[in-house]
Amino acid sequence: MPQMNMVQAINEALRSAMRKDKRVVVLGEDVGKVGGVFRVTAGLSEEFGEDRVVDTPLSENGIVGCAVGMALYGMVPIVEIQFADFIWPAYDQIVNELAKYRYRSGGEYPAKLVIRTPVGGGIKGGHYHSQHPEAAFIHVAGLKVVCPSNPYDAKGLLLASIQDPDPVLFFEPKRVYRAAKGEVPENDYLVPLESAKVVRPGRHVTVLAYGAMLYEALDAAAKAAEKGVEAEVIDLRTLWPVDIATIVTSVKHTGRLVVVHEAPRTCGFGAELVSLVVERCFYHLEAPPVRVTGFDTPFPYTLEMEYMPLSHRILPALLDCAKS
C-alpha cells in the first residue's frame, strides 16, 4: 500500500469521488489552478475541468449559498473554505438553510453537501488561521461533523461523508496535514461515520481526542504509562453524532475521563462530552472528568504552543485524574 500524508489522502478521495460521480463538483477560493492553498485539490482542475473544480469569487456566503442550491438541483458539491476561520460569513446559510432544509421541506429536499475546511493551530496562524470551530456546528441540529486524524481515516471518512445523505462539515487538522503519514489503500473504502476508534487501550483513564490533538494525547499516554498510568485513548473521528457506545464502554471500564480539544473551553465540545458521560456513567465515575482545552481567549500568535492543549498539559491532567 502506498504511504501518504493527509493532503494526498484527501486529494485521492476527492479524485475518486469525482471520477465515479459526475454530480460531484468542488467549489472554493484558489481550489483550481493552484490546487488550494494547502494543495489538497491539486490536479483536480486539470483532470475534471474548470466547470467541476471552480475557483469562486471571494465570498464564503456565496459559495455555500450556491452550493445549497446546487445540492437542491441534485449535484453533490464539495465546498472548500480556505481556513475554518473564514466560514462565518457562510454561517447563516449553514445554520438557517443547509441544516434545516430537509426538515422544513418535510423530506422533499435533502440538500446534501460536504464542507471541507482546515482547522486548528500550531502553524503560526494567529487569530484567523487557527480556529477549531466544531462546537458552533455540533450545536446545530441537522449537521454532521467529522474530524480525521490520519491519512487512512481521512480518505475513508471523506468518502463516507460524500456518500452520506446528510450535510457534513469535514474538519481537516492542518497542523498534521503533512506530518501525519501512513498507508492508504489505493481502492475506495469507507470509514463509517459515527464510529470512534480506540487507538490505545488502557484501563486507568479514558482520553477522548480528535484531529491533531490525538497525537498529543498519545504522547501524554505514552509518558503516563512510564509512570504506571494506562490511558485508553479514543480517536472520536466523527464528532457528531458521536459514537456514544464506544465512549460509554470505555469510561465504564476506566471510571475516569479526560477530554482534549483545541477550541476554547467554555461551551466547547468537551462540555458536551463531559455531560454525556456524566449522564450515562455517573455511578461509574471515580473522579471528576477533566477538560484539557484551548483557553477562553482568541488564538494567540507568539504563545500558540502555550495556548494549545499539548502533551505537556495533557500529561498532568491525566495523571491527576487517574490518581484522584
Binding site: P57, C66, G69, Y103, E108
Partner: protein
C-alpha cells in the same frame, strides 16, 4: 496603456432608466413589448390573480378569528407574482420569498395542501414544522420558503448553475423584495450569477416597503434595477401591476438565459397594499392616502378592464369564479381544521435521513413523558 488587459469588454449592462409598460390606461397593449398572450392565457392569468386575492382575504379573516396563526399576503402584488411565474417554462424552478403562494398554486400546488400548511396539521407536507405560508412543492418546481430574507437568492443561482454544469437548460426565477437587495445573499447571488453566466431571473418585487422601512432607506440609488450594473448583468424596470409587461420581460429574461447570456435583474414596481403580514399594523408608519395612487393602478382592476372591454369577462363570471373559490376554500379549510396535528414522532424525523441515537433517545423521552398543557389547541 491597457490597464486591464485580461478583462473582456463583454456584457455591458443596459441602461435601466425606463419603466416597461404594456397595458395602457385605455386598456390597449403597447405592441413593442406585448407578449401576445391568447385569450385563454389571459383569462387563466386573471383567474389566478383573483384566486390569490380571494384566498388572501379569506386567510387574513381566518387569522383574525384565531383559526390560523399567521398570514403573509400579496395584496396588490398579484400581477408581479403570477405574471413572472407564468412566464417561466415548466422545467424551470421557482425560489420564492414568502408572498408567492399564488405562483405555487398556479404551478400545481393543490389547494388542500396549501391550506393544510396554513394550519400546520398532520397532512401538511412539511408536517407543521414551519409557520404558515412556508410551503414546499417539489413536484411543481417550487423550493422551500424560508423566513430569513434573501437566503433563497444564492440558492436559486446555485440551482441553475448546477443544471448548467449538468448540461441542462433549466432557469430559475427567484422572488425577493426591495429590502432583500440589502442582504448579503443578494450581493453574492448576483455576483456569482454574473461571473458564471447563470440563467437566473432575479425578480425584485419593489413594493415600497420592508415592513416599516421605505425604499429610500434601502438604497441611495433611484431604482433597484440599476444595481444590476455592479454585476455585469442587465437590469430592467417593469410596471409590476401590468401583467402583460411582467410576462414580457420575464420571458425575455428566460430567453437570454437560454441563449447562454446569463441572468437578468427585473425590478417589478408595485406596492404592498396591506400590512407586512397579519402581525403588522401599517397605520403606525404610513398614511392611508399613500395607498390612493396605487389603488388606482390595482393590477386586478386593470386586467379586468382590459377583459371587459374585449367582452371576455363580466360580473356574472366574476361572481361565479368567486363562488367557486369560496366553496373550494371552505371545503379545504373544513378538512384541514378536522385534521389532527402531526404526531410527536414527526418532530424527530427528517432532521437527518435516519434519526441518530440521540434523536431516538429524545423521541422516546417525549413519548413516555407527559403531554404539554394546551399543547395544540
Amino acid at each position: 496603456m491597457d490597464m486591464m488587459p485580461d478583462i473582456p469588454a463583454t456584457f455591458r449592462p443596459e441602461q435601466p432608466s425606463k419603466v416597461i409598460r404594456v397595458l395602457s390606461d385605455d386598456a390597449t397593449l403597447d405592441p413593442r413589448h406585448d407578449p401576445r398572450l391568447n385569450e385563454s392565457e389571459v383569462l387563466e392569468l386573471y383567474r389566478w390573480m383573483v384566486t390569490t386575492r380571494q384566498l388572501d382575504e379569506r386567510l387574513v379573516a381566518l387569522q383574525r378569528q384565531g383559526r390560523i396563526g399567521f398570514h403573509v399576503g400579496s395584496l396588490g402584488e398579484e400581477a408581479a407574482i403570477i405574471g413572472a411565474a407564468f412566464a417561466m417554462r415548466k422545467k424551470d424552478w421557482l425560489f420564492p420569498c414568502y408572498r408567492e403562494f399564488g405562483a405555487a398554486l398556479m404551478r400545481g400546488l393543490p389547494l388542500q395542501v396549501f391550506i393544510d400548511n396554513m394550519f400546520g396539521n398532520a397532512n401538511d407536507t412539511v408536517l407543521g414544522r414551519q409557520m404558515p405560508n412556508h410551503s414546499t412543492h417539489r413536484a411543481s418546481g417550487y423550493a422551500s420558503v424560508s423566513s430569513p430574507v434573501g437566503t433563497q437568492i444564492t440558492q436559486a443561482v446555485g440551482f441553475s448553475w448546477g443544471a448548467k454544469i449538468d448540461g441542462k437548460d433549466v432557469a430559475s426565477l427567484v422572488y425577493f423584495g426591495d429590502g432583500a437587495t440589502s442582504s448579503t445573499d443578494f450581493h453574492s447571488g448576483m455576483n456569482f450569477a454574473g461571473v458564471f453566466k447563470v440563467p437566473v431571473v432575479f425578480l425584485c418585487r419593489n413594493n415600497g416597503w420592508a415592513i416599516s422601512v421605505p425604499v429610500e432607506r434601502q438604497t441611495a440609488t433611484r431604482t433597484f434595477a440599476e444595481k444590476a450594473a455592479a454585476y455585469g448583468i442587465p437590469g430592467v424596470r417593469v410596471d409590476g401591476n401590468d401583467i402583460f409587461a411582467v410576462v414580457s420581460v420575464v420571458r425575455e429574461a428566460v430567453r437570454r438565459g437560454e441563449q447562454g447570456l446569463g441572468a437578468t435583474l427585473i425590478e417589478a414596481i408595485t406596492y404592498r397594499m396591506g400590512g407586512h403580514s397579519t402581525s403588522d399594523d401599517p397605520n403606525r408608519y404610513r398614511a392611508t392616502d399613500e395607498l390612493k395612487p396605487w389603488a388606482e393602478r390595482d393590477p386586478l382592476e386593470r386586467l379586468r378592464q382590459y377583459l371587459e372591454r374585449r367582452a371576455q369577462w363580466d360580473d356574472r363570471k366574476e361572481q361565479a369564479l368567486i363562488a367557486d373559490i369560496d366553496q373550494r376554500f371552505r371545503a379545504a379549510v373544513a378538512v384541514a381544521e378536522k385534521t389532527p396535528p402531526p404526531s410527536l414522532e414527526t418532530m424527530f424525523e427528517d432532521v437527518y435521513e435516519k434519526p441518530p441515537w440521540h434523536l431516538q433517545e429524545q423521541c422516546a423521552e417525549v413519548l413516555r413523558g407527559p403531554r404539554a398543557p394546551s399543547s395544540h389547541s
